[in-house]
């Protein structure tokens, strides 16, 4: 079953002479429980693709369907509700809320959805992520690897349809990068999550079930990864 599919997706910026096609007729589909990685040089359109499939931006033409819903038909308010229930983000620079502690950072998306956090599930996540001892700590009191683990926890907390990871290992050393990759894989295996990961590292890209290469706004599948 396709959790995500795009059809003839185009995104252009600017007008006239300064017109830039960031995405050009992109049609991809991702099934539930897949781990997909996206590689490509900077400026190739990776981030634009991420914005589109993350329901953060509307395409110029074409459609994006997530979990059976067409995104371009939604209004901004509807879109943000959709986003908080269906998309989990993980960034290169961690981007935790500096004023909130580990646990609060993790439950914030649930609170934004006016739900009660499932204590049991959160504690389980904290255990898996190795943060049980640090749930009262502020992000500034954590190492980079720990912060990224909190971000993974935050993305998993709402059990979203898709987790989007934008170079999640970009700011980490190899040991911590390995940890993060293992946790992402774990979330696919254990929680049947769908993960789309942008990366520069071909080695990590090959961790995925499938690899997409983006070049000048065009997307092509490189074939199966290691798994």
């Amino acid at each position: 079953m396709n959790i995500l599919s795009t059809l003839n997706l185009c995104k252009t910026y600017g007008k006239g002479d300064t017109k830039v096609a960031a995405l050009n007729n992109v049609s991809i589909s991702v099934s539930k429980g897949e781990f997909v990685s996206v590689i490509g040089p900077s400026g190739s359109g990776k981030s634009t693709l991420l914005n589109m499939v993350g329901a953060l931006d509307q395409p110029t033409t074409g459609t994006v369907t997530i979990d059976g819903k067409e995104i371009h038909k939604m209004k901004e308010e509807e879109l943000s509700i959709f986003r908080r229930r269906n998309i989990g983000f993980i960034f290169q620079a961690f981007n935790l809320i500096p004023e909130l502690n580990v646990e609060e950072n993790m439950v914030l998306p649930i609170l934004l959805d006016y739900q009660k956090p499932d204590k049991h599930y959160i504690n389980e996540l904290l255990g898996i992520l190795g943060l049980a001892e640090r749930k009262q700590h502020l992000p500034s009191q954590l190492s980079g690897g720990q912060q990224q683990r909190v971000a993974i926890g935050r993305a998993l907390a709402t059990k979203p349809a898709i987790i989007l990871a934008d170079e999640p290992t970009g700011n980490l050393d190899s040991k911590n990068s390995q940890d993060v990759m293992n946790l992402l894989k774990l979330s696919v295996d254990q929680y049947n999550q769908t993960v789309i990961m942008i990366t520069h590292n071909h080695n990590y890209a090959s961790f995925a079930d499938r690899v997409f290469q983006v070049n000048d706004g065009m997307v092509r599948e490189l074939g199966e990864g290691k798994r």
Binding site: E77, S80, R83, Q92, I97, P109, L112
Partner: protein, 655 residues
């Protein structure tokens, strides 16, 4: 944390420094509005007290009324009190000219004819006189005095009471003699005036129109207590309306200043907030939820800042009122110096609340415009201009100065808000200073050629008297004395001994006019307004300076990371000083130039409006420029110290 709205207090607690600066700026803006409007309120109260003392407590008057008119007006339900004043012509007391008059007993105190001792005349043989005259004649209440009436008949009267001095009659050396109703009826009336005081809350112009139409009274017989009506905003006087218009413009500007001050502070850290809101949107916050969080924050800031601002504003008013009370205890002695002005507090609170709520939405709107992912990764921080940077500044100036200028100029909104918050204070300052101008207030001020005493005579005043007078200490002959009049000025206005000395030197052919009280009365009105307007100007200047220091502080604190980065790549402390100082001066000089241009134009416009002369306010502008630059320099000292104390790596890791 139970609710996402708890983010608001947590954010504020997490950014103590920034929160404190924001609160301080709101406190100042609110204090400015509360202070200025409370002072305006107090000014109206003081002026009302003064008008009541100088003009009397009435609203309208009818000249030469008939008995029927008086009966009808007096019995109206909206009339609080009314009374008749008759001018019964000139008479003579002991062969000296006096003014005979009648005043209804119930209205005497409304016209400030107050009994000091005794009682008002009740029968055909009683009169009351002014104290200064009785003192001069060494008479007391109960004594008998011979009065020649306007018809030439003379009779002895008993002095039934003593009334307070009137500045004008004292200066003219013609005392008032008030007679009883009975006596007044026997005398020819020169003119009479029927004074009417309406009840509080009555629509005076409607009531007056009704009276005029019902009784068919021609316009020329109607008179108005212009001063009082003006203060009650019931005036039809064009000059007063012009004055009000100017006031409205200036007080409108005060509100704008407060708004700009708050906006400016919120704008400084807008980029941090855009990033934060982008992040929140990425993890699923809707625009509505972000707005709600920000509103919660605004509420917390408002609840902490506005009460403080109100208190500070009240304190400013208190100081101004206290100065007045100390300056003139007779006039303002009975007025409370603690003024709780509903208008002032209301205006301040409302402005504070609304502006904080609106200004805090600034980053929300900005964040809505950029894609959340871009906001988070910071790629939307700088709009790259289409024009290529030519690096002209760096070629002309040392790099740190070029960077300072560039920092100030590159962010347009910040530049606009920074400079306009400085400029608008200057405009206010120049605008308000227009009001301290006695020329168009129609009030004579105490200057060097105002006579305290004047000697006049029908016959020639002998040159010997000039000689004698000029030899007296602490007394000066001013102007050009003529054979019929000599103007004298006392060094000490309260030197009654000297006045007595002059009295002994003159004979019966010369009349001494004591003008001191009249001068003082005219002066008071001017001084009250002047004290208040200097109060306004001081408050504006003080708050502007504090605001600029606070703003620079906020601006440096919000760029801690950036500055640490510059230091990390090799900027020395000295260069850092120069760069930040350049930036601060760039803001203040731009603001100063804009403020001076607009302020001078406003000043000229206002004075044109008042048909008064305008001259280029050179001293004011030089003063403003000096203060601006000094404040700019002063304002960077604190934040620079703080930055340098923080280790580079520490600062880089923060935020």
């Amino acid at each position: 944390m139970r609710n996402y709205l708890d983010l608001a207090p947590k954010y504020l607690a997490g950014h103590k420094n920034k929160t404190r600066l924001t609160i301080f700026s709101v406190v100042m803006a609110v204090a400015l509005v509360v202070g200025i409007f409370s002072m305006l309120d107090a000014l109206v109260k003081f002026e009302t007290a003064q008008v009541l003392k100088s003009e009397g407590n009435y609203h309208i008057l009818v000249r030469d009324p008939t008995q029927n008119e008086m009966d009808i007006i007096g019995s109206r339900i909206d009339v609080e009190n009314s009374g008749l004043l008759k001018d019964l012509g000139e008479g003579k007391t002991n062969d000296e000219i006096c003014a005979l008059g009648y005043i209804s007993e119930n209205f005497a105190s409304n016209l400030n004819i107050d009994l000091i001792e005794g009682k008002m005349p009740r029968n055909d043989h009683e009169v009351v006189l002014e104290k200064w005259y009785l003192d001069q004649q060494v008479l007391n209440s109960g004594d008998t005095i011979k009065i020649t009436r306007s018809d030439g008949t003379a009779e002895d009267y008993v002095i039934s009471g003593v009334i307070n001095d009137w500045g004008a009659t004292k200066a003219a050396a013609i005392p008032f003699v008030f007679v009883s109703t009975e006596t007044a009826e026997k005398l020819t009336v020169v003119t009479s005036q029927y004074f009417v005081l309406f009840k509080a809350g009555v629509n005076i112009s409607n009531a007056e129109k009704e009276i005029v139409t019902v009784l068919n009274i021609p316009e020329e017989r109607m008179g108005y207590n212009e001063g009082l009506l003006a203060l009650m905003l019931e005036t039809k006087n064009n000059r007063v309306l012009t004055f009000y218009l100017i006031g409205a413009v200036l007080f409108g500007l005060v509100l704008v200043t407060a708004v700009v001050m708050i906006y400016n502070t919120f704008n400084i850290s807008v980029i941090d907030r855009v990033r934060q809101f982008g992040l929140l949107r990425c993890i699923g916050a809707s625009q509505k939820q972000i707005r709600r969080t920000v509103r919660r924050e605004s509420l917390i800031i408002s609840l902490r800042a506005i009460p403080l601002g109100v208190l500070a504003g009240m304190l400013l008013t208190f100081v101004c009122s206290a100065v007045l009370k100390i300056y003139n205890p007779q006039l303002f002695g009975d007025i409370s110096i603690i003024n709780i002005s509903v208008i002032g507090i209301g205006a301040g609170t409302l402005t504070g609340f609304l502006t904080v709520f609106m200004a805090s939405m600034l980053p929300v709107k900005k964040a809505a415009k950029v894609s959340p992912v871009n906001a988070v990764t910071g790629s939307a921080d700088l709009k790259i201009s289409i024009r290529q940077k030519c690096g002209l500044l760096t070629r002309l100036l040392p790099v740190e100065i070029a960077m300072g200028v560039n920092n100030a100029v590159s962010k347009k909104r910040t530049l606009i808000l920074m400079t306009s918050s400085i400029a608008i204070s200057i405009i206010l300052f120049l605008g308000f200073s227009v009001l301290v101008n006695p020329v168009f207030m129609g009030i004579k001020t105490d200057n060097h050629d105002t006579a305290d005493l004047t000697l006049t005579s029908e016959q020639r005043i002998s040159p010997e008297l000039w000689q004698e007078l000029s030899q007296l200490d602490d007394l000066e002959i001013i102007g050009n004395p003529t054979e019929h009049a000599i103007d004298l000025q006392l060094r000490d206005k309260n030197d009654n001994q000297k006045v007595d000395e002059v009295k002994t030197m003159i004979d019966e052919t010369i009349t001494l006019h004591d003008k001191r009280q009249m001068n003082a009365e005219a002066n008071n009105a001017f001084m009250t307004i002047a004290v208040f307007i200097y109060g306004f100007v001081t408050v504006i200047a003080l708050i502007s300076i504090l605001n600029m220091i606070n703003t620079m502080n906020t601006s440096v604190v919000s760029r801690t990371k950036y500055l640490a980065m510059l230091r990390a790549v090799g900027m020395s402390d000295k260069q850092l000083n120069k760069m930040i100082l350049t930036q601060s001066i760039a803001y203040s000089v731009t603001g100063c130039i804009m403020g001076c241009i607009c302020g001078v134009l406003l000043q000229k416009k206002l004075l044109d409006f008042l048909a008064a002369d305008w001259s280029f306010p050179l001293y004011q502008i030089v003063g403003i420029a000096v203060i601006c630059i000094m404040t700019a320099a002063l304002s960077v000292i604190g934040p620079l110290k703080k930055i340098k104390k923080l280790g580079i790596s520490e600062a880089m890791a923060s935020i």
